[in-house]
Symmetry: C2
Subunit: 87 residues, 2 copies
Amino acid sequence: MYVVVVYDTAAERNPKILRTCRKYLHHVQRSVFEGHLSEGQLRHFQAAVENALDLTYDNVLVYTYPPGTTPRRLEWGATEPAPSDIL
Amino acid sequence: MYVVVVYDTAAERNPKILRTCRKYLHHVQRSVFEGHLSEGQLRHFQAAVENALDLTYDNVLVYTYPPGTTPRRLEWGATEPAPSDIL
């Protein structure tokens, strides 16, 4: 299924969550990733996120789309991520 | 239609985009808002966003859902926005 992932984390955990997300998904905005995951991959991704973050403080939203569908997305402004944002 | 809006902006424009988004949508994560907008409201919202931000630098992603549908969303970690995040 297609997923859109948006996270909000303390700055010191940002490099770790970036690396985790980039193993599974494509980077579309500073803290937004998208891509296709199976149910099994989603479980592995969740475990990796739980390992990377402090979920008593950090927050992750995962929007999932029915199989065969992808989101309709408008983009306003500068295209991201800029090279300087990529660790 | 239901929309999910995620923005990335310079810190100095954050209060203005927060105020703009809160006029139209519900705050679900630090820079993520959701809610129902008509096509007309979406055009007004876009104009307000263009006024609030510097779109040569800032970026806004708007995910739209077909009428009558809402996103499936998983939330991992701390519930947001925390009171301290609300200006």
